[in-house]
């Protein structure tokens, strides 16, 4: 180990800790390992302008804290945190690892601030998270910028455009990695590796294995660089998998979003205020089942199950101001018939659907902030809240498609972030952090701000443990 000046890429001396990936988990690991004295090389597959993976699309993280602080309005303690996790995952979580995550997240905001993160109080539209989640000033890209700056200052070596293609693993022991940069293949040896390369959601071919043709119509909300290559390499080299490979976190987003990287702005919060129809102009699910933040994650799957993976949210003038503005303007028409034409739906069928819906609505007191009593009667599927007739022009339509946030399949790890092999033993010098192992803790469902928590906690554990391994090994030899 050399603690002084950092070595240059390609020097003959092997790197102590190689970090694969350039998002939140990767940088937390890299900074931690470097601070513990190791030489660290980060290989980020994306070019500098797109560094930071999905982490650069985030805006907050959830962490344990005993009392209110400058940005969080009240305490959030272990029991409540654990209950919340249990609820969203329906029990699909490894309690040991989950408890490690929750406990190690205690006041992690302070560590983040020491490493350049800047927080701000909760935003107007997100006050329901103001006690549990700390928001990054400027969002995730600002956080990534700060971490990169700190990492550079610490002497972490960073190589962009470095797409890692393969890992040489001998008897569960990492030896070297091969990466491609500017069309040239290079091999780098390291004493330990931290794999923090995210999920495989940007790999449409892989998604197609489970979803068939439908996957072609999926929109990937985040980076195009999370193609899961390292996940596959690890699994092929005998790593144990966790998480359902068929599952992904999918929300209904604006169908006009770019194929990749559209991020937060493509989300649509209007579903619960109107009706949603498919290509046949037919409703297919209760739009008012619950508050939108509790339901948006099922709608991706629902839309994915419709033909051509498309659906249309239709609202009228009464509702247009009730939700966060979205990035693409609604398609507007003076009548349902005209709207159908603009949306290329069958006008007769849509008129019929709307007529039936309107006829089934019962008078009630509309309240967007409550589970109100505006319901339909005798309609299948029903609409159980916020059901008001669509009768006030102009009418508005938003096309919806499934937007994939992340995939659940990952590698199994232990409390030291070591990757677990098929025979149940940990790989001594292979560590994993972030989305690539979050399936251990989030077996299903999602909890706002928890992806960054897992990445931060396990990034730090992986960085620390990787250095332990290197030190122990050097002592031994």
């Amino acid at each position: 180990m050399r603690t002084g000046a950092s070595p240059s890429v390609g020097s003959s001396e092997p790197i102590d800790v190689l970090v694969i990936g350039g998002g939140n988990a990767a940088l937390c690991a890299a900074m931690t390992a470097r601070e513990a004295g190791a030489t660290v090389l980060v290989l980020e597959g994306a070019p500098r302008e797109f560094r930071g993976g999905n982490s650069r699309h985030t805006r907050n993280l959830r962490y344990l804290h005993d009392s209110a602080n400058a940005v969080l309005t009240g305490p959030y303690k272990e029991d409540e945190f654990w209950e919340d996790l249990l609820r969203v995952t329906g029990g699909k979580t490894n309690e040991d690892l989950a408890r490690v995550t929750i406990r190690a997240s205690n006041n992690v905001g302070a560590w983040m601030e020491q490493h350049g993160c800047k927080f701000q109080p909760s935003m107007r539209g997100t006050l329901h998270l103001s006690r549990t989640n700390a928001f990054f000033l400027g969002g995730g890209k600002a956080l990534m910028n700060a971490y990169y700056l700190t990492a550079e200052r610490l002497g972490v070596l960073i190589q962009y455009d470095a797409d890692v293609r393969d890992l040489a693993i001998v008897d569960g022991h990492f030896v070297s990695a091969t990466y491609e940069t500017a069309g040239v293949a290079r091999t780098v040896e390291a004493r330990a590796v931290v794999v923090a390369s995210g999920g495989f959601q940007a790999n449409i071919d892989w998604l197609r294995e489970y979803w068939g043709e439908a996957a072609d119509n999926f929109i990937i909300r985040g980076t195009p660089f999370d193609k899961g290559r390292m996940l596959r390499v690890l699994l092929d080299n005998g790593a144990q998998s966790v998480g359902d490979p068929r599952q992904c976190h999918a929300v209904a987003i604006d169908a006009r979003a770019p194929k990749f990287d559209g991020g937060i702005v493509t989300r649509l919060d209007c579903v619960s205020f109107g009706i949603v129809v498919n290509r046949d102009a037919v409703r297919f699910y209760d739009e008012g089942e619950d508050f939108w933040p509790k339901r948006y994650a099922i709608w991706g799957r629902l839309v994915a199950q419709q033909s051509d993976q498309i659906a249309y949210s239709i609202i009228d003038a009464k509702s247009i101001d009730l939700f966060m503005p979205s990035v693409f303007p609604p398609i507007e028409a003076q009548s349902i018939r005209e709207l159908a034409e603009k949306l290329e739906l069958d006008p007769d069928l849509l008129e019929k659907t709307v007529e039936n819906f309107n006829a089934a609505t019962r008078p009630g007191t509309f309240d967007a902030g409550e589970l109100d009593d505006c319901v339909t009667e005798g309609l299948t599927p029903p609409k159980s809240h916020w059901a008001r007739p669509l009768d006030s022009p102009p009418f508005y339509g938003y096309p919806l498609r499934p937007g994939i946030t992340f995939t659940y399949l990952g590698v199994a790890v232990n409390e030291r972030a070591q990757v677990i092999l098929q025979d149940g033993t940990p790989a001594p010098n292979i560590f994993a952090a972030g989305e690539i192992m979050s399936g251990n803790i989030l077996g299903q469902g999602y909890m706002a701000g928890f992806g960054m928590t897992i990445g931060t906690v396990f990034g730090r554990i992986a960085g620390k443990e990787a250095v332990h391994h290197v030190i122990d090994n050097l002592k031994g030899s």
Partner: protein, 366 residues
Amino acid sequence: MSSTILKEADRVMTICNACRYCEGFCAVFPAMELRRTFSDEDLKYLANLCHNCRDCYYACQYAPPHTFALNVPRTMAELRLETYREYSWPHAMKSFFQNNGLLVALITALSVVTVSLLTLLFQGHDVVFGTHTGAGAFYRVIPYAAMVVPFMALAIFVLISLWKGFATQWRTVGGTPQELKHWPAHRQAIWDVLRLKYLDGGGYGCNYPDDRFSMIRRYLHHAVFYGFMLCLASTTVAFGYDHLLHRPAPYPFWSWPVLLGTLGGLALLAGTGGLLYLKRQMDRDPAAPETLDMDMVFTVLLFLTSLTGLLLLCLRATPLMGTLLIVHIGFVLGLFISMPYGKFVHGFYRYGALVKNAIEQARENN
């Protein structure tokens, strides 16, 4: 939507309004959130509310080369320039904002040459290159009437012009005369100006000259602003001494006009010098190329005006005094003439936007 730049500003604000991650940086985003759609007037208001700290450029996950190619600071700067044109009075002067750098430089050069020629012509060589000391020494080079009358006339014109521009802006962004008398809003806006609140990027400063947070630009701008104010105070006191107490310049070093002027001049010199240095270093990606020469020429002009003023103070007892006085007066003249038609106006329009913002936010919080 009247122009490409307004369309772009609309596109940008629509994307930001669906994102809002930059909410903590400045007043623009909270003001944006009060709207769902943006009229031209809204956009012009928001453009002048933007202090160009550039934080939202580096923080933006949609900045180029992303397909959305979002560049908020640049878009706002381009739109601001368009509003400067639109608000200018007399309106025919709007074309002055094209090639502003060259025009202001020419006007200043012309001012220096004119003052030199007139002085040489009417006062002669011996006076200009002679040594003058004691009360009224400056007037012996440039006579009292020649100094005071043109500047008074010009000052009145500049004030009218600035006021007209301000009033046009106020009307354009939908402000009423009643609202202009909303004193708490003025108090808030003045406080924002005095602290340069919105160059503080939520507490961490600008991303200037590069992607790192820094307070340096804010402090340098403070030096310029307070330096300018001190110089203004110095001139006002000197005017009072001259006309009320009948004590014409030059004054001894330990006198209010000279102390204020020296302090102000030094602050201006340091501030503008520092800003010019940073501008040369700065990452140009978030900057609007159209405004670059306007910004530069104004800063250089302030720098040269304070430099010649300070030199004049140091060398006023030598034969160089006449020359320095002429050059200094030339620069001041150039500065005055270009005041309503250059970067100087940013302060007034930003102030207007801050007052409107204070009114809006107060209403919202009630």
